[in-house]
Symmetry: C2
Subunit: 456 residues, 2 copies
């Protein structure tokens, strides 16, 4: 219900923009872009043609609002928009944005272009941006906000509130960070505690000293996990001397969680990891998906070679071929179930180091339960529909389904566990690896079992 309402609102907004564009009502368009929430503007831009996007963007004022809009916009659209913009205009748009947003936008652009724009900013800014861009991709360093409001531990609550009144830039002030003479972070105090404390009390007497902090190199997934686990609104980023470099706020963590989930979905399906794949051309799309399909192609070649080796058996009992799809399909599906449960369990902290063996045995048991059930069902089906096939066909097919499902559940469990041990993201290759193995192993066991019981 709400989702439709949400879409409905965006559609109304889109139509309003289109109407103004048709009428070439520039002044109204400028007003409307200023009044539209940056996040809504970024959403509605997905509905516009490239030409419409460029037209509207060219009318936008060069202010913080425009910078926020660029931060919310999909990267692919940012590149398109800024392609033909002058360096001066881009610089004046991002000039007033927080440093992490500036480096975020610059990171999307080509290196040379980004460099030329950076040179248009003042020297202090240049240094700050260089520092943030030096941190690894997807780390706390690139995520953090560096405009943090700090107070010295020896001042009083009253003085702190006065200082606060003069500060404009600092974002999201709800925790106040307290430092000592050496600029090291020594405590934190909530704005609420500050307002409810007698004004002569010294900060060091009311601050919380036990602070959870992270390093700029901390991976954003781990930052998200810490913030989610402890319900933080922000977490401070410290260097090796305990100096406060910045804070990562919960709103950025929300974006990280959504982005990481999308990437995991795509990876598990073997569809690359580009969250904006829907905005890309068919060729780029195909290019991202091609390598993962290659894994499954190899699996298919493997299966074809195995079946080729059993050509004589097949020539005698053609009915065997009819059950290849169901044996591989059931195997593939139970393997996908197992690997998804394990990969997601790892991501949510439910698969713990040390419990692997127990987990594998449990999945084998699940495979046995489901394999026996569907094996019996399929055996009966085979027995009564392929009546002129050998007597044992139903038994062979049933046993093969069971074997294929037990093997598949086991492989689907073990592969992500091995990938984690090797420090490879288990999501990245679970899908294609698992289905490829099942194609080969399923066919192999099927024909081996047939060979034993049908005595050709």
């Amino acid at each position: 219900m709400r989702k439709e309402m949400f879409n409905h609102e965006i559609n109304i907004l889109r139509d309003t923009y289109r109407r103004l564009l048709r009428r070439n009502a520039k002044i109204n368009l400028i007003k409307l872009t200023g009044k539209t929430h940056p996040a809504d503007l970024a959403e509605v831009f997905r509905h516009f043609s490239t030409e419409e996007q460029i037209q509207i963007f060219s009318l936008m004022k060069e202010n913080e609002h425009a910078a926020e809009f660029l931060v919310e916009l999909d990267d692919a659209l940012v590149i398109e928009l800024l392609e033909n913009e002058s360096f001066d205009r881009i610089a004046s748009i991002i000039k007033k944005a927080p440093t992490n947003d500036q480096s975020g936008i610059l990171n999307i652009l080509a290196d040379e272009k980004a460099q030329s724009i950076i040179e248009l900013l003042n020297a202090d800014k240049q240094e700050e941006i260089a520092e943030i861009m030096g941190y690894p991709d997807d780390s706390a360093g690139t995520l953090m906000n560096t405009d943090v409001f700090t107070l010295h531990e020896s001042i009083t609550a009253g003085e702190a509130i006065k200082t606060l009144q003069d500060q404009e830039g600092a974002e999201m002030v709800f925790y106040l960070y307290i430092t000592d003479d050496d600029d090291r972070l020594v405590g934190v105090i909530s704005l609420r505690a500050l307002t409810t404390t007698p004004s002569s009390t010294k900060l060091k007497d009311i601050m919380i000293k036990n602070i959870h902090s992270i390093r700029p190199e901390t991976d954003q997934e781990d930052v998200a996990r810490i913030v989610a686990q402890y319900n933080f609104l922000a977490v401070p980023v410290l260097d090796s001397d305990s100096k406060l470099l910045g804070i990562v706020t919960v709103d950025d963590v929300v974006d990280v969680i959504r982005e990481e989930a999308t990437e995991d979905f795509l990876r598990m399906a073997g569809a690359g990891r580009d969250r904006e794949i829907l905005l890309k051309s068919s060729w780029e799309n195909a290019k991202a998906r091609l390598p993962w399909l290659f894994a499954s192609w190899i699996g298919g070649i493997g299966a074809a070679s195995i079946i080729g080796a059993f050509e004589n058996m097949l020539a005698n009992i053609v009915a065997l071929a009819a059950f290849i799809p169901v044996i591989l399909g059931m195997g593939g599906n139970i393997a996908t179930q197992s690997s998804t449960i394990i990969v997601r369990g790892m991501a949510t902290g439910r698969v713990n180091i040390g419990g692997e063996i127990k987990l594998i045995f449990k999945e084998i048991k699940v495979g046995l339960i489901l394999g026996s059930l569907y094996g019996i069902l399929l055996g009966i089906f085979a027995k009564f529909t392929f009546t002129n096939a050998p007597d044992y066909l139903g038994f062979v097919v049933g046993l093969s389904i069971c074997a294929s499902m037990v093997i598949a559940a086991t492989v689907g469990t073990i592969i992500p566990l091995i990938l984690r041990k090797l420090d490879i993201d288990p999501a990245i290759a679970t899908g294609p690896f698992v289905t490829t193995s099942i194609d080969i192993l399923g066919v192999l066991f099927y024909f081996l079992i047939a060979g034993i019981f049908l005595k050709i």
Copy 2:
């Protein structure tokens, strides 16, 4: 790196608890449970045997800390822990918790048990809990915190700060909600703005009047989308008279986003939707996965029947059987890619109403590109490895791969779009539906193409 450190810390905590348990050091255990963060305690409990869990829980003090711990704990473990607890102890643990946490815990228990515990609470509480439990599952109403701090619009900033100092219970005060004479929400003000305003200013002159609000029936996924989109720290929940019922805070939204992602992962893999499936027995596990495998079993039966109908053709050209796995496998994998991209695109707002036709054509094009490439590769492979097969085998196999991949990309795109139109969660059945259709369609087209070109 960090993730391992995180696990490492939890392992140390687990060992400490185990050591104290072995020594039966009750006083130390009581102290340690009080000092461990509720979220860490919930995490470490996953490592304990049921017996250890019950032992430790029985020692915990009946306070807010214990209630927070139960909120963080997996539902399956809560049920286990509270099974043999007296109603009195449970009531005294949850007595001081916020109403949404109370109803959250009670919701996990059997109805009768929950009712008996509710009767032990005071009359006001009983009414509040009944109200929250009356909202639909997974709605803003069950998620919201009802202990909200409100101020009247006619008081001054100075009076507001004084009132704030007397309030203890209200959670997460960073936005202050302002009401009129009829208790309707008319504005909001940040704590920061309040502290930096002259104390004689009336709230109504500084409050923000344009507020984004939600209704108690709003689905939690939509709440999450709104909070993520606008970077809110909290969003107010209003009834039809604009009266403030409660607020949903960002920390709860973070949990919702993670939980919904996990459910979508499991659904797409056809593994039910129980996030705690890893904590369940093998039998329960098998039961949750059984129905989705049935879809793939039906697909397999369909494929077997089709192949059975072409038995004569197969008897003449046995080599045809060798390529069944690769044709279905490549089809299944490209279909999974397509449906994952579409389902995730819908969840992140990148698939918009009205753009469906364009999307389908784009996926068909991707299917054609990848299908042609892998078709040619496989055709060549078939031609040169199955040398005593008919001349056209390579061509038939290549064309079939291409057809299967184009059909699969199309079906993988259309099924989630249709499910959304029918108001069914696209994630819930995309996986099994898609692979089942591919099994049947892939085999059908393969043998039709073979029938045309190999002229049997």
